[in-house]
């Protein structure tokens, strides 16, 4: 056993790799930043190298690139319609960034940056502010009619409007907490069960080991599903801002 502790939560520790200071602000290059950069590089390589041949009949790699493109494009078409095409770059970037970040986190000894609430909250807040600004640009002050549900009598407005505003403001929280909580819980659980394998020895460890294998499969599903949920909710929010109700 190494001298430092290896609890199930040790995997979420931020380690400074290159200390940097910008005035008073700590802008050190951490393992989180490293894995975000790695994700960017991997996504770029995946897309650029995959499309390098531009074959009419795609090979395996090009097929994967085309599938991810079509997946997001269909998502946009189903939720927003043809107007949604303008927002494809944003949505596709979000999807690929989160998906690759989650998948990178599944590799042992790697770091999952989506398991930090500040990362997911920053993304959710960017989406939230962007969508709100979009709504104002498209509708001006008519945007506030969004908070008045249609078909509700005027008597109930003082009750309904605060409720609607709260549920609007809760969007970035629910968007970020969902991604963060799923990833954190899943990875902690993996580590806990992996710890059982070691402590229970060769014979007793078979059961937890089988569990870890099953959990890994589940985590792969969740890694994809959470990227999908984040993306589709972004689409819904854009749709809401474009069309109000």
């Amino acid at each position: 056993m190494a001298a430092e502790s290896h609890g199930p939560l040790a995997q979420f520790e931020i380690k400074t790799l290159v200390p940097l200071k910008m005035g008073e602000v700590d802008v050190s290059f951490t393992n989180s930043a490293l894995f975000m950069s790695l994700t960017l590089v991997l996504v770029t390589l995946f897309l650029v190298l995959g499309m390098r041949q531009r074959a009419l009949v795609p090979g395996r790699w090009q097929s994967m690139v085309e599938i991810s493109y079509e997946f997001v494009a269909n998502l946009l078409r189903d939720t927003i319609g043809s107007e949604g095409r303008k927002y494809f770059p944003l949505v596709f970037t979000l999807f690929m960034f989160i998906l690759f970040g989650n998948m990178l986190g599944m590799i042992p000894y790697s770091f999952t940056f989506t398991s930090h609430i500040i990362v997911t909250f920053a993304m959710a807040l960017a989406v939230f502010i962007g969508v709100t600004v979009l709504g104002f640009i498209k509708h001006g002050f008519h945007f506030f009619s969004f908070f008045v549900p249609p078909g509700v009598s005027v008597v109930l407005w003082p009750l309904m409007i605060p409720i609607e505003i709260i549920s609007y403001l809760s969007r970035p929280i629910s968007l970020s907490v969902r991604l963060f909580a799923n990833l954190t819980a899943g990875h902690t659980m993996l580590k806990v069960f992996a710890g059982f394998v070691v402590s229970m020895g060769v014979i007793g460890g078979v059961l937890p080991f089988a569990f870890v294998v099953a959990l890994t499969g589940l985590e792969l599903l969740i890694a994809f599903l959470q990227a999908y949920v984040f993306t589709i909710l972004t689409c819904f929010y854009i749709n809401d801002a474009l069309h109000l109700h």
């Binding site: 409720i163 709260i166 969007r171 629910s174 909580a181 999908y228 589709i232 749709n239 109700h245």
Partner: protein, 118 residues
């Protein structure tokens, strides 16, 4: 190339293409526009967080107002209830497929395909 000039081989490919397209359309129609299993799982993921996040926002607004107006704890209590109501309403909306958070289903019946088919 006109129809008559197509060789037997090409006609065969055409027929197979048509068949494959039909099969794909049928399986599309069966699983719904969004793939019902995938969106069902995605839906389940969303429900729990909705209540909590609305409550957090409600209590947060209440505490801030209390801090500002020095009315501890009345605004917190009021907004706790409003937050809970907002959370329940969000869950109801997501679960029934009426809308995706704020706002109700639009009248033109456009495809909000996340909810279960009704």
């Amino acid at each position: 190339m006109t129809e008559q000039k197509k060789s037997a081989h090409e006609q065969d490919i055409d027929a197979r293409l048509r068949k494959a397209r039909q099969a794909a359309e049928q399986s599309d129609a069966k699983s719904g526009p969004n793939g019902s299993r995938r969106s069902g799982l995605a839906l389940a993921m969303r429900l729990g967080v909705e209540i909590v996040s609305s409550l957090v926002i409600g209590v947060g607004i209440g505490l801030l107002l209390d801090y500002w107006l020095d009315t501890n704890p009345w605004f917190m209590l009021l907004f706790f209830v409003l937050g809970a109501a907002a959370g329940l309403m969000n869950v109801y909306r997501v679960a029934t497929g009426i809308g995706q958070g704020v706002g109700y289903r639009r009248d033109d019946g456009s495809n909000n395909s996340d909810g279960p088919a009704q």
